[in-house]
């Protein structure tokens, strides 16, 4: 077995094809469950894991059936699985798919909690047994033992491990008695079987405790909550564990949370590897992790174990374990280079770890524990500002919407890079003005004590104000090791402030850059400009080196160019002279910029790689497929800032740079990069020309975004837009409003994504908006536009090539009326009520505009069609939009792939894509909103986007597709019962139609007085009900008693509504009663219920809707042509 070990390393031979190890007896076809829509606590990390699983199993020769309702995922691309079901993921519907497909096995560990819960339901109902499907990856008893709090505690007791004193309650009374047994607050409440800790929290007093328990019991899949002693101030650690069927166990990564216990790990700033454990302490956690995965009985795959450690004496308590791949395992995979999900998929079909080669070294086996020679920091990104009424406080319930990760050789370097990767206006940690709030000692102490998104900046303010490490530690419980490291950064800043830029020596520069300071930070501290710093730095020959992530701390050669920057001696990047393209990703997920953009970036990489380009990806988001080192030829895991991007450009000198796929993040970099390239005239490494930005020019992008330039273009082309103007003062705004007439849409001109956008109906509201929501001054003008009442909104994605061909990708009709943010609105492709005449106008305007702007690549336009049939252009964005993946799946053409090829110079005729495809089937997209996580905020839709994800329903009829989308989005559409109607004055004229619709479906109607009166006048039977303030029994009582099955509420927005109405809407959310807040939503819902009553839901695979071969053949032909 050991022939020639003398050279130190011998090449191991690994089985190329499935061996007996990689073959499960009798298994040919495997179903993989995806995670469904992106929600808080379950984001695109499950697209990353699911995509890896699909690829790994297909590679092994298995037939893969995929179920996932989320069209924005890479995993639902039709060529990743043999059969792809994009649609609702309820147990009965998935059972139907199983009955049709008859898979031999089901892999439930790749799709987060959604997949795990679904698998448990399918097993419980006997469906899996009936249809002869075996669970692989995790057995039912193992899932239960890990997920059921009581069973988990018992299991820990059996192996002698401590868990925090606690009890399980299934009723409020039980919870209260457990609290009395434990004897002291604070107490932590954790519901069982929920993701991201929905419904959980920390209670500091009895009243708060009861509130949280009630919410937790409602949220739990099993009506169970765990009440446990709070370990406030203990340190938190996580270990990622893998086990194979031969019982070999390895630890992939240890993670230390900077935020101590009490903050959900998804909301915590975390660091890998653990920094403050000695070997004895680390090995103890390792032993425990191994014992836990064995005791719980996860037979193979990855798990995540969380521990609390008392910093005073090292006492360890086990917090929880997840018997599946998780957000942490995605992070650990990116942090170490060990692809946990891919390995887990292989282990699930019987491979053992030593039979699989290490993906990066290729020569050593996967049965090892990665060693890393750098530090990884992950920082979550939050969106509290979008949910007024909710408190920006971090608890055990996850609230972050995204995260950034950064690698550096030291903690300081990785931490600073992570802070600037977040794109929240900070160029690093420190070297920035202190927030006004933090000048107040008491407020500052509060920000240090109570975990919140800005706590790290409060620490900076505290140091600047002279607070000592010990004091900050005592208030925040953050480990002194981290605080001391941060304090040194403040000292370095102080040093920079005391020196001028030209006084910094080469060595000084190295020392500062090695601590992660960006040029922008150095500029701030030395009162100079970023450009000055860059020039001075480069003059001193201080440039970053790039180190590789290789799983083994350089012990073995790495074949995979996965890199991060650091200011070191040796650069390992070794760029090639190939024809190559740099794709800039989207950075951390946020509301309005998420997985859809990552999908586009990945597609660009896939298509251009296929077309013979070396593809280079640059991104900072660990959850994504784009940062899988398998996706592109080369990966730079780096912040997306001008400094970091130009550093990579200097090094790689790519032929092209793609900025239009990653959302706003790379678009904002387009102009500075363009400027840089024009100044520098860099010759590309391939020697075929200058380095340039591909696709639509940054100038055209600017023309579309600059209101003045854009207006001129529209006038020239004869394209109509709603009347409006730019206000630089309150009086400006009022005069524009009076000129165009109320209602008007107002929004600041300097932010995007609908942030702070509002519809106002009178002067009073407008003045209030200008006074409270935004600043208005000559520097920050506000846009005031006519709001088109009841207009239909249309979304168009179009594709244009460099020679002026324009083809429409898809025209989508929104379900909700114009004024609801397109990201939050459901939409249908093809359109269903728009006249041919209007469609023609839309097509012609879109084409004209794309030509005029010289678009090369994708463009998205939004139109409004008024009730009288007039068409107005609302917005045009010459870039990939959020709807690209949805449209691509709906029409069966990969638009982002086409767009990237078009940018490389291929024409649309060469691609064979010359005509708009209007499919015979109907696709409906529905948004998924996170209101449950934000206590206290209203749930009404508006011009500001707040959805986190989307689902898709496909059918041959609109009503069926809409019903599927609703079910997939988690709406439990009732087939009968009682509907509660309450419409405001603006929408009352639609009341009769909606009332009749529900009556025809056999629903009883209840309504509050005003609404009831109108219905009675129309002769529609209705039972009046009291509003909350009118006395009892009222609508709230009926809701609680289960007497209401569905609600239609259009809000009046007055003072009463924002109290009573809000309370009722939150209550409906808590009781999971479907609530519809728009007239068009109500109409579509009536259609959907009708469809559900008349026929059963058909489940068809995406592949059944298309002759997918045509499209992919075209693509191949085009790629070989280019």
């Amino acid at each position: 077995a050991s022939a020639s070990a003398k050279d130190g390393v011998t090449v191991r031979r690994f089985p190329a094809a499935p061996t007996e190890g990689g073959r499960l007896a009798g298994v040919r076809k495997i179903m993989i469950l995806g995670a469904g829509p992106i929600v808080i606590g379950q984001a695109c990390e499950f697209d990353y894991s699911g995509t890896q699983a699909c690829k790994a199993l297909a590679e092994e020769g298995y037939e893969v059936v995929l179920v996932n309702s989320n069209p924005a995922t890479i995993m639902t691309d039709p060529d990743l699985a043999h059969r792809t079901y994009i649609g609702p993921m309820t147990p009965p519907l998935v059972e139907r798919i199983i009955a049709a497909e008859r898979p031999d096995a089901l892999l439930p560990t790749m799709g987060g909690q959604t997949a795990l819960n679904l698998a448990v339901s399918l097993a419980d109902s006997g469906a899996l047994d009936r249809l002869g499907v075996r669970l692989i990856g995790a057995s039912l008893p193992a899932i239960r033992a890990a997920e059921d709090r009581q069973l988990f505690k018992q299991a820990m007791d059996r192996i002698g491990l401590k868990t925090p004193p606690s009890g399980i309650g299934t009723t409020l009374e039980e919870c209260i008695s457990i609290a009395e047994d434990i004897g002291e607050f604070p107490l932590i409440v954790r519901p069982a079987f929920t993701l991201g800790g929905t419904g959980g929290g920390i209670a500091y007093n009895r009243a708060e405790f009861e509130d949280i328990c009630r919410a937790g019991l409602a949220a739990s899949h099993t009506q169970q909550v765990l009440v446990e002693k709070s370990l406030l101030g203990w340190k938190e650690y996580e270990l990622e564990v893998m086990r194979d069927m031969a019982d070999n166990v390895v630890i992939i990564c240890s993670i230390e949370n900077i935020d101590p216990m009490g903050v959900h790990t998804g909301d915590s700033i975390t660091v890998a590897p653990a920094q403050t454990l000695t070997d004895k302490e680390y090995q103890r956690l390792r032993d425990y992790s191994v014992a836990i995965i064995r005791e719980i009985g996860v037979e193979c795959g990855g798990s995540n174990v969380q521990f609390a450690v008392n910093p005073a004496d090292g006492e360890v308590m086990v917090i929880e374990m997840n018997p599946r791949v998780s957000r942490s395992s995605a992070l650990a995979s990116k942090a170490t280079g060990f692809p946990i999900a891919k390995m887990a998929a292989k282990l699930s079909v019987g491979y053992t770890l030593d039979q699989i080669p290490n993906d990066i070294t290729k020569k050593t086996p996967a049965s090892f524990e990665p060693s890393i020679d750098y530090v990884v920091t992950k920082i979550p990104r939050f969106a509290f500002e979008k949910f007024p009424g909710s408190e920006p406080v971090l608890t055990t319930q996850m609230k972050s919407v995204g995260e950034a990760m950064a690698l550096g050789r030291t903690f300081q370097e990785s931490f600073q890079k992570a802070v600037r990767s977040l794109e929240t206006g900070f160029a690093g940690w420190g070297c920035a003005p202190i927030k006004e709030l933090d000048w107040d000692w008491e407020k500052l102490k509060y920000s240090l004590r109570v975990p919140n998104p800005d706590r790290i900046h409060a620490i900076y303010a505290a140091f600047k104000k002279g607070m000592r490490i010990q004091d900050i530690h005592e208030i925040s419980f953050i480990d002194k090791w981290f605080l001391t490291e941060l304090k040194e950064l403040v000292d370095v800043e102080q040093f920079l402030i005391s020196r001028g830029l030209d006084q910094l020596s080469k060595d000084d520069f190295y020392q500062v850059k090695r601590r992660g300071f960006s040029d922008t930070q150095i500029a701030f501290a030395t009162s100079s400009s970023e450009t000055d710093v860059r020039l001075r730095r480069l003059a001193l020959e201080v440039a970053p080196t790039y180190k590789r992530v290789d799983t083994c701390a350089a012990e073995f050669e790495a074949n995979t160019p996965y890199m991060y920057s650091s200011y070191e001696y040796e650069c390992e990047s070794v760029p090639t002279n190939k024809k190559k393209v740099l794709i800039l990703g989207g950075g951390p997920n946020r509301i309005g910029q998420g997985i859809e953009f990552d999908y586009c970036c990945c597609h660009a990489s896939f298509a251009l790689r296929e077309a013979g380009y070396e593809t280079i990806m640059m991104n900072s988001n660990p959850e994504t497929v784009s940062t899988d080192y398998d996706t592109s030829d080369r990966l730079y895991f780096e912040p997306l800032t001008v400094e970091d991007v130009t550093n990579v450009i200097d090094l790689e000198r790519p032929d092209g740079i793609i900025v239009q796929f990653g959302g706003q993040t790379p678009l904002k970099l387009a102009l500075p990069i363009q400027q840089y390239l024009e100044d520098k005239k860099l010759v590309s490494a391939s020697g075929t020309g200058l380095v340039k930005i591909w696709g639509t020019s940054p100038d055209s992008i600017d023309a579309a975004e600059d209101r003045k330039r854009f207006n001129a273009i529209l006038e020239e082309l004869g394209i109509e837009q709603p009347k409006g103007g730019i206000a630089r003062s309150e009086s400006d705004a009022l005069s524009i409003a009076s000129e165009v007439g109320y209602p008007v849409v107002v929004r600041p001109s300097y932010v995007l994504g609908g942030r702070a956008m509002e519809i106002v109906y009178n002067d009073e509201k407008l003045i209030k908006y200008l006074a409270t929501a935004v600043q208005v001054d000559p520097e920050r003008p506000v846009l005031v536009d006519k709001y088109l009442i009841d207009a239909i909104e249309i979304d168009v994605d179009a594709l244009a090539d460099s020679v002026g061909n324009v083809v429409i990708g898809g025209i989508m009709e929104h379900i909700e009326q114009a004024g609801i943010h397109s990201g939050d609105s459901a939409c249908s492709l093809p359109t269903r009520t728009v006249s041919a005449k209007c469609l023609d106008i839309i097509r012609s305007w879109t084409t004209k505009l794309a030509k005029r702007l010289n678009v090369c690549g994708l463009m998205n336009c939004q139109y409004a069609i008024t009730t009288s049939g007039e068409v107005f252009l609302l917005e045009a964005n010459p870039r990939a939009s959020r709807t690209v993946p949805f449209v691509s799946k709906a029409i069966g053409h990969p638009l982002a792939k086409y767009a990237s090829l078009v940018m490389s110079g291929v024409t649309l005729p060469e691609l064979g894509y010359t005509q708009e495809v209007v499919p015979k089937h109907v696709s409906v997209k529905e948004a998924v909103l996170p209101f449950e996580k934000f206590q206290g905020c209203d749930i009404l839709l508006g011009p500001e986007m707040r959805s986190t994800g989307e689902v898709m329903g496909i059918d041959y009829e609109f009503s069926g597709a809409f019903a599927k989308a609703q079910i997939a989005a988690g709406q439990k559409l009732p087939l009968n019962g009682t509907v509660f109607l309450s419409l405001n004055d603006l929408t009352k004229r639609h009341l009769a139609e909606i009332g009749r619709g529900f009556r025809e479906l056999g629903f009883n109607i209840i309504a509050t007085s005003g609404t009831a009166k109108v219905l009675q006048l129309e002769g529609i039977p209705v039972e009046p009900v009291l509003k909350i303030h009118e006395g009892r029994p009222n609508a709230r009582d009926m809701l609680k008693n289960g007497q209401i099955q569905v609600m239609v509420i259009t809000s009046s927005g007055d003072a009463l509504d924002s109290k009573d109405g809000l309370q009722l809407r939150r209550l409906a959310l808590a009781y999971k009663v479907p609530i519809i807040t728009t007239v068009d939503g109500a109409r579509a819902t009536i259609d959907a219920i009708k469809s559900l009553k008349n026929k059963s839901i058909e489940t068809l695979a995406l592949q059944d809707y298309f002759q997918t071969t045509d499209a992919s053949q075209n693509l191949q032909a085009a790629q070989s042509a280019s």
Partner: protein, 396 residues
């Protein structure tokens, strides 16, 4: 003749008249390939020569510092942050630091651990060990990976030229040098400490007691603790202790420990092993394993850069089980050279090198790696149980 200087722990450092929150380079590492690495010193100062090896363990620098097997070597830790948890009295693997020096990327500016009693810098200063930081440790590691272990000279002495230091490196030899005589104990002693109950991970109590004589070629305390936890009473003897005297004690088993350097440089130890094997059950770890290999007539050879880390997969060929193991060796036994009947029981899966031997006829077990871990995973702890079983069966 090293003298203590202040390093980073003192806070702001004044150099060339400017206050900086870091100190300026004051040390060099010169490698035999001619490369010169500027760095900052901590611990002792002076000039020191040694063989540079890298260790990929993420934890356990204190155990590594006190592991006598590193005598004559500079240990480069690939984990960039070292010193974070300081030093404590419980994590010592011997009573001294035998290594030539410590090379790290980043020296922690503070400590954070409930067991910490001293900073790493103070500790090294007291023990007169040189350390350097702020050097591209990954670049050096890649060099060692490509070229094999290199001799280096570490110096804070500004008066010596790079060439002088290079000359020193080129003239220094580690192959063929007996390093064991410098680390072994002076006289026999008894050992009775078990693994502390706080850290014990083995289930169940040992009921039977065995007397084991352990040859100290540079033995790690945790080997003694693990054997004691398994029920052994141990007499530790120096490396040159005569085999006859050991056999006179009529021990249940004899243990050959880990130790530094080249097994071919200690023929006396090979002879001792030869005199003992076959007569009582024996167990060897690391150097002990290599000496057993030689005693059986096999050959040892120097590996390119050896194995130093806590993440090496070892396959027990008898069961197919894979353990993650702690490893620290530059030499290995060539299994082809071993006589008929000797079974290779374990291989290192990274390179298929021999990681364990068994020779039932001679009642002999040996492992190339470290089942006692410290630092490292506990996966292979059962190897001690196997030794116990062997002694138990020998009693019957």
């Amino acid at each position: 003749a090293a003298k203590a200087v202040s390093g980073v722990q003192s806070g702001t450092v004044v150099d060339d008249g400017v206050q900086r929150p870091w100190k300026l380079s004051d040390a060099r590492l010169v490698l035999e390939d001619g490369s010169v690495w500027k760095a900052k010193s901590f611990g002792a100062s002076g000039t020191q020569v040694g063989e540079v090896v890298f260790n990929t363990s993420l934890t356990g620098y204190q155990e590594i510092l006190t592991d006598p097997s590193y005598a004559g070597q500079f240990v480069l830790m690939t984990n960039p942050h070292i010193g974070n948890t300081g030093v404590n009295p419980d994590d010592e693997e011997s009573n001294r630091c035998f290594l030539a020096g410590l090379i790290i990327r980043n020296l922690s500016i503070c400590t954070s651990n409930w067991r910490c009693t001293e900073t790493l810098e103070e500790y090294l200063m007291k023990r007169n060990i040189m350390g350097i930081y702020d050097v591209d440790t990954r670049a050096i590691t890649r060099r060692l990976r490509e070229d094999g272990s290199l001799i280096g000279v570490l110096s804070t002495d500004q008066s010596r030229t790079d060439d002088e230091l290079l000359e020193m490196a080129k003239n220094w030899k580690i192959v063929g040098v007996d390093l064991i005589s410098g680390v072994t104990c002076d006289a026999p002693y008894e050992w009775s400490d078990k693994t502390d109950s706080e850290w014990e991970f083995k289930k169940g109590q040992s009921t039977e007691s065995f007397h084991v004589v352990a040859y100290d070629f540079g033995i790690k305390h945790n080997i003694l603790r693990r054997l004691t936890s398994y029920g052994c009473k141990i007499t530790v003897v120096p490396a040159n202790w005569p085999a006859s005297e050991v056999l006179n004690l009529k021990p249940d088993g004899v243990f050959f420990s880990n130790g530094p350097g080249d097994p071919a440089a200690v023929p006396y130890a090979v002879k001792t092993v030869q005199e003992i094997i076959g007569k009582v059950p024996v167990f060897g770890i690391c150097m002990g394993h290599q000496l057993i290999g030689q005693a059986l007539g096999g050959k040892t050879f120097k590996m390119k850069f050896g194995h130093h880390g806590g993440n090496h997969p070892v396959c027990d060929l008898r069961s197919g089980r894979v353990d993650i193991s702690a490893q620290n060796h530059n030499y290995a036994v060539d299994p082809e050279s071993l006589p008929e009947g000797v079974k290779v029981t374990h291989i290192n899966l990274n390179d298929n090198s021999c990681a364990g031997l068994q020779y039932p006829k001679m009642k002999l077990l040996s492992l190339q790696y470290h089942p006692e871990s410290s630092p490292g995973p506990h996966d292979s702890d059962l190897a001690f149980g196997e030794f116990i079983e062997m002694m138990k069966n020998n009693r019957l």
